[in-house]
């Protein structure tokens, strides 16, 4: 993990204008994000935590260039990701990919896994041996090669997320933006997926931006974290520090609200901290 900043967000504001029907006063804009600043360093796992309405999903979409900020800048390796033409975007898309929350909605039910996973190569016009790459991707996410011919509905949620991750990795990106990737999964499957993400990001040297509402997952997975509330970052820093000694009142409230697993067994694998 270096100190080099790969993703930079400065003064980003995003307002949505709600159209008032017919008559009525001027529409008031909804402020999804207000003046957000953050830096993500190369190779680190950066968490963005917030509840509903915090703006974290809007931020994720802005990072990916799927949406443009009303004000402010977002840069990837110094290059702005917004207000770009299609061909310029293609350059960025190769370097930054996304994993979505809902494994059912993020895979086209009419397409086979092979077509789903290789789609970025087609869209980004990347020239390489597709069959070999497909095999490589499937094995790196722990799916058997015969998964390639199957359809999404033949897989479980956890397996579908693996397919989604494989797709995201296809163009060899440097940054992975994950929007609640484990929230829709069963607890037992969640752990597998988190292990996979940890493994892949360290093996491939990826930078991970992990958006979630689940504090314990973020604490486990991320090196640094930003806590969001109503469109603004209220606190950010090294995860262990923020969790151990939260400064902002909201962060404290958030941490205090997490249900604690009582009466758990005396010792669990993986070691303990504290």
């Amino acid at each position: 993990m270096s100190d080099e900043v790969v993703l930079s967000v400065r003064g980003v504001t995003r307002e949505f204008v709600r159209r008032r029907p017919l008559f009525g006063a001027r529409p008031e804009p909804v402020r999804a994000l207000a003046g957000v600043d953050l830096d993500v360093r190369r190779g680190e796992r950066f968490g963005i935590v917030g509840e509903s309405g915090s703006g974290k999903t809007t931020l994720a979409r802005l990072l990916m260039g799927l949406d443009s900020p009303t004000a402010g800048t977002i840069t990837l390796d110094g290059v702005a990701v917004h207000d770009k033409s299609q061909s310029e975007l293609r350059f960025l898309r190769q370097r930054m990919q996304m994993v979505f929350q809902d494994p059912m909605s993020s895979l086209d039910p009419r397409m086979r896994v092979r077509d789903i996973v290789l789609e970025p190569l087609i869209g980004l016009r990347l020239d390489e041996n597709r069959e070999a790459r497909l095999a490589e991707l499937l094995s790196s996410v722990g799916l058997s090669p015969d998964a390639a011919e199957r359809f999404p509905h033949q897989f479980s949620g956890g397996q579908r997320q693996r397919v989604a991750i494989a797709r995201a990795l296809a163009p060899r990106p440097q940054v992975l933006v994950a929007d609640e990737p484990v929230s829709a999964l069963d607890v037992s499957v969640r752990a597998q997926t988190l292990n996979l993400l940890t493994d892949l990001t360290s093996r491939l040297g990826l930078t991970l931006v992990f958006v979630s509402h689940d504090l314990s997952v973020v604490r486990y997975l991320c090196d640094r974290v930003a806590v969001m509330r109503r469109g603004a970052i209220v606190e950010q820093g090294v995860t262990a520090e923020v969790y151990a000694d939260p400064q902002h009142a909201y962060t404290k409230e958030l941490l205090a609200s997490v249900p604690v697993l009582r009466h758990r067994p005396a010792s669990l694998a993986g070691g303990r901290d504290e």
């Binding site: 069963d186 607890v187 604490r219 604690v260 697993l261 009582r262 067994p265 694998a269």
Partner: protein, 326 residues
């Protein structure tokens, strides 16, 4: 409930479920998808969808529920047994003010005048900690936040002081800060009224904070049950142990591999015969092709396993991170 079994057509979803709930009990029903937890609750309420058949024995305060005709069941619902679901919007009528809906819940089972019902409704809205209950009476569901809507649903459920309150993932769709308040509310209301609580969830932490006893379901079967301190502190069934290990993220050093359960939860009807967990269990034995009987433990706990996790050793069953094999 005794030997409750539910089938959807030819697919078995719940097998021989047996448990009892006494007044004031707080029991958590834990399971992931496909465990049959929601179905079991629906069976109690007589709300199973068409095409599902239930067999066995379900009794509420001496009245057998499974064979009851719909009319009698409807009389019981809301009055003796009430249920709160995960998604409040589906439980609330979008075109009726919430005050009217709560009053309707009251009027349905109690012989009171209209104004009395409304007064009671206002009182209930106050009890569920809705700010400004008088104003709240006139609001419509879409004007309320998710947390507030769940409070209204809770008010409706408790309107007639039911003997049993069943909550099916009531806070899963809520933000964690709202969830905390909601759980505290349920805790208080149930304690005040002495209502028996059956709390269904996949979240072990939530259940551990609210309930005194817990039932663990997997593949439609009860695999372990007992006082929470015992079941969570010293799980005997490998699935329980695995679930605990996978849930206790706060105990794991950041970055080190998480302990997982191999494979994934099979789809409905795809569970193996015998012990439903045997195709994922690191402690599976050849005899697991037969359904393990419940073995009793001290303090009223029991588990169904031929090769349980040793009570003395730590969760040794799952000390190694998963090997990716697919």
């Amino acid at each position: 409930m005794r030997d409750l079994s539910v089938r959807f057509g030819s697919i078995p979803v719940v097998h021989d479920l047996t448990f009892a709930l006494a007044a004031g009990d707080r029991v958590g029903l834990i399971g992931e998808s496909g465990s049959g937890k929601s179905v079991a609750a629906l069976a109690v309420m007589g709300l199973l969808p068409d095409g599902a058949t239930a067999s066995g024995h379900v009794e509420a305060e001496g009245t057998s529920l499974l064979d009851l005709p719909e009319k009698a069941l409807a009389a019981l619902r809301g009055e003796r047994v009430a249920m709160v679901f995960q998604e409040p919007m589906t439980a609330l009528d979008p075109v009726m003010p919430v005050g009217t809906q709560v009053a309707a819940a009251v009027a349905l089972h109690q012989d009171v005048s209209r104004s009395d019902a409304r007064a009671k409704a206002r009182e209930l809205l106050h009890q569920v900690e809705l700010p400004d209950p008088d104003r709240a009476m006139a609001t419509y569901p879409h004007q309320l936040s998710g947390g507030q809507r769940q409070r209204v649903v809770l008010a409706m459920a408790l309107a007639n002081d039911p003997a049993v309150l069943i909550c099916d993932e009531p806070t899963t769709a809520l933000d964690v800060t709202i969830q905390k308040r909601m759980l505290a509310l349920i805790d208080r209301l149930v304690a005040d009224r002495g209502t028996a609580l059956l709390f269904i969830s996949h979240d072990l932490a939530v259940v551990s904070e609210l309930c005194a006893r817990v039932l663990v379901l997997y593949g439609g079967r009860l695999v372990e049950q007992g006082p929470i301190a015992q079941v969570f502190g010293a799980p005997r069934h490998p699935y329980t142990a695995g679930l605990l290990a996978a849930s206790a993220l706060s105990d794991v050093a950041p970055g080190s591999p998480l302990v997982t359960i191999e494979g994934s939860v099979p789809g409905i009807g795809a569970f193996p015969s015998g012990c439903p967990f045997r195709n994922r269990c690191p402690r599976a034995l050849p005899e697991c092709v037969e359904v393990p009987p419940m073995t009793a433990e001290p303090a009223g706990a029991s588990y169904a396993c031929f090769n349980p996790v040793p009570s003395s050793a730590p969760a040794a069953a799952f000390t190694r991170p998963t090997r990716r094999r697919r």
